[in-house]
């Protein structure tokens, strides 16, 4: 395992700026998650680390050495592709064993067999080893793809939305499993997703991507509590953070540049003895908790996250307030103001 880093890396495809001057260092043994909507440049960033794309400018290093122009095979990385990339006419076993059989990595047949069945058990595809890759379900194929990365012990694991095609239950199981594997191996992983829950639960640090730019790289807690930009604030938390103009709900900034307040739904208190009059427009129950969409006088809409047993129904009128000290403030350029 080794660290990996990008220094001022830029990649264009014709007119599109896929990765814009990105600086990113992934420490040895760190689980880095790249989060961003579709088209943000997540895949491109991974491909740059893997060597499947060459940067237009900037430097890529793995384990301290400059690999910017090195071929993918020489970088010793493992890549899980967004699409399952299996050898279609070979069995699951052959697919998993393939990376171990590559030239220059001569491993005994006995050792290969052992390693493959270990990984297959872990990913719960042990009973499918004799199946051909084309005879698997989408989820099974994806697990074989993950397995093909895990059989090796590369410098860095690069994973491009590896769990996106699995059902919710399996995704949750594999998430836990992946985190455990990463801790056990001390693996360096760069993991791409647009699922914030995955990002929050897996990451040691999250990198937020916006149109090719890394807007913030920090621990999940930090990004959640002190998002560097409005965009970063919106990427984490469900429902999304409330954005309120200064002055609304009695929110007064301590800084003249502060224009917008970000208030997390759980920081909106509902049914307070004093506060602002609001009407409940919609209620969404999510099991243990519920989300209320409220409209304050003047038409401002606010989401609040409440306990499921709170007696709040649609159409009710009540009073709300923002928990003191909760808001984060952004300036006219949507940047965080450090108070």
């Amino acid at each position: 395992m080794a660290e990996a880093s990008l220094a001022r890396v830029t990649k264009r495809f014709g007119e599109t700026l896929a990765v814009d001057n990105a600086d990113l260092t992934v420490a040895n043994g760190e689980f880095m998650v790249l989060l961003g909507p579709t088209g943000a440049g997540k895949t491109t960033l991974l491909r740059l680390i893997a060597g499947l794309e060459t940067p237009d400018s900037g430097k890529v290093t793995i384990g301290g050495s400059d690999v910017t122009v090195l071929a993918p095979a020489m970088r010793d990385v493992a890549f899980v592709f967004q699409q399952y990339s299996l050898y279609p006419h070979y069995t699951v076993f052959e697919n998993l064993a393939f990376p171990l059989r590559a030239p220059g990595r001569r491993m005994g047949e006995q050792a290969i067999r052992k390693r493959v069945s270990e990984i297959a058990e872990m990913l719960r595809i042990g009973h499918k080893l004799k199946n051909k890759a084309t005879q698997l379900s989408g989820g099974e194929m994806q697990r074989v793809s993950i397995g093909r990365a895990l059989v090796r012990e590369p410098n860095v694991f690069l994973m491009d939305e590896p769990l996106s095609s699995l059902d919710a239950k399996l995704r949750e199981d594999l998430r836990v499993e992946l985190k455990r594997i990463q801790r056990d191996l001390g693996a360096t992983i760069v993991y791409v997703t647009h699922d914030q829950l995955e990002a929050m639960t897996l990451a040691d640090r999250i990198g937020i991507l916006d149109k090719g730019k890394l807007v913030q790289v920090d621990e999940p807690r930090t990004i959640y509590e002190r998002p560097a930009t409005v965009y970063a604030a919106q990427r984490l938390g469900s429902p999304q953070i409330n954005l309120l103009p200064a002055g609304r709900l009695g929110l007064t900034p301590g800084n003249a540049n502060a224009i917008t307040a970000g208030v997390r739904p759980e920081d909106v208190e509902v049914g307070t003895p004093s506060g602002f009059d609001a009407r409940v427009i919609a209620v969404e129950r999510r099991g243990a908790e519920m989300i209320a969409l409220l409209e304050v006088d003047g038409g401002q809409q606010v989401h609040a996250l409440l306990d499921a047993h709170r007696p709040v129904g649609e159409g009710a009128s009540l009073q709300i307030a923002v928990r003191p000290g909760a808001p984060v403030w952004f300036d006219g350029k949507q940047q965080l103001i450090n108070a």
Partner: protein
């Protein structure tokens, strides 16, 4: 057509349209089904199934198509016995097998090779593709005639080039007993390797890049990439192309007749050429019917075995 125009047409032809609709409505689903299938079935029976059965019948007789008045005698399996016992016939079948096997082998090698080259998408690749495809679009008779000039020992370019590089002196491809079978194989390969290339190209184009990228990261070498990714993906296309061309070449006639007319001696007398001689020069209709049936059963049997293998590769 919009609803309005349909309505307008309907009201312009007040008598015909409703009556026709009523009549069609009066038919049952079953009747309509037969109405659609019927004509096709009739044509199929008339021009495919009936002649086949008729040929089977004729193959057991001594019928001669040029003597319609003559009494037709049932001869049992005598035609078949004579065919299978004849050294000449085995010779023609052997020549055909030689032709089919070698044209397929060479065309697969050349066609697949060309497809791999063209698939590299170098500059001008589409121009070269068009150029390579030209032979395939020519008429076989033209190709045959055209190659008789190329093969001309004194003035032809083929003999000149071979002589230039190998110093063999003038060579007569068509006149030589050993070379003539290869002469027709070369021409057929020249003409039809592009077809194999085209189908292989379709297979190659269907392979997504990320498969190769994944292999690259796994440190696969070029041979492994070919073996694990390219070949399995292209094989169904390739086998289909070979099936089409193999059946065609089993029946090969026009190009070879133009080029060698079966000669010298009967070295390039393929089964279909001999069949034509028996049927329309010697007018032994019964005998040649039996020959046709034997060829048909052979192609049909081989084709079926082949299709089974193809389906296995596909799944």
């Amino acid at each position: 057509m919009t609803d309005q125009t349909i309505q307008r047409i309907a009201s312009d032809t007040p008598d015909v349209a409703p009556r026709f609709v009523r009549r069609v409505r009066g038919l049952s689903d079953r009747a309509i089904t037969w109405l659609f299938i019927g004509p096709t079935l009739a044509i199929l029976l008339a021009i495919n199934i009936f002649p086949l059965i008729w040929t089977v019948y004729l193959s057991f007789t001594n019928y001669r198509a040029n003597q319609p008045g003559r009494e037709v005698k049932w001869v049992g399996t005598r035609n078949y016995e004579r065919l299978l016992g004849s050294e000449d016939i085995w010779g023609y079948l052997q020549a055909t097998a030689h032709f089919v096997v070698w044209t397929m082998v060479l065309q697969v090698l050349v066609g697949f090779g060309l497809a791999l080259l063209i698939n590299r998408n170098f500059r001008g690749a589409s121009f070269w593709t068009t150029l390579i495809l030209i032979p395939m679009m020519l008429s076989p008779a033209v190709v045959g005639t055209f190659w008789t000039y190329i093969y001309q020992p004194q003035t032809g370019i083929f003999s000149y080039i071979i002589d230039f590089f190998a110093g063999t002196g003038a060579i007569d491809m068509i006149g030589s007993v050993t070379l003539a079978p290869w002469a027709i194989i070369i021409v057929d390969t020249w003409m039809w390797a592009p077809y194999i290339m085209l189908l292989c190209l379709a297979g190659l184009r269907s392979i997504p890049d990320y498969l190769y990228e994944a292999a690259e990261i796994d440190r696969a070498n070029a041979l492994q990439k070919f073996w694990y990714i390219t070949l399995p993906r292209v094989l169904p296309f390739l086998m289909l192309a070979v099936l089409f061309r193999g059946i065609e070449n089993f029946k090969m006639f026009d190009m070879v007749v133009e080029l060698t007319s079966g000669g010298p001696g009967s070295t390039t007398e393929l089964a279909s050429i001999n069949l034509k001689r028996e049927a329309f020069e010697k007018w032994r209709t019964g005998f040649s019917s039996a020959f046709a049936i034997i060829l048909f059963v052979t192609v049909f049997g081989l084709g079926n075995i082949y299709v089974k293998a193809l389906n296995k590769v596909k799944s």
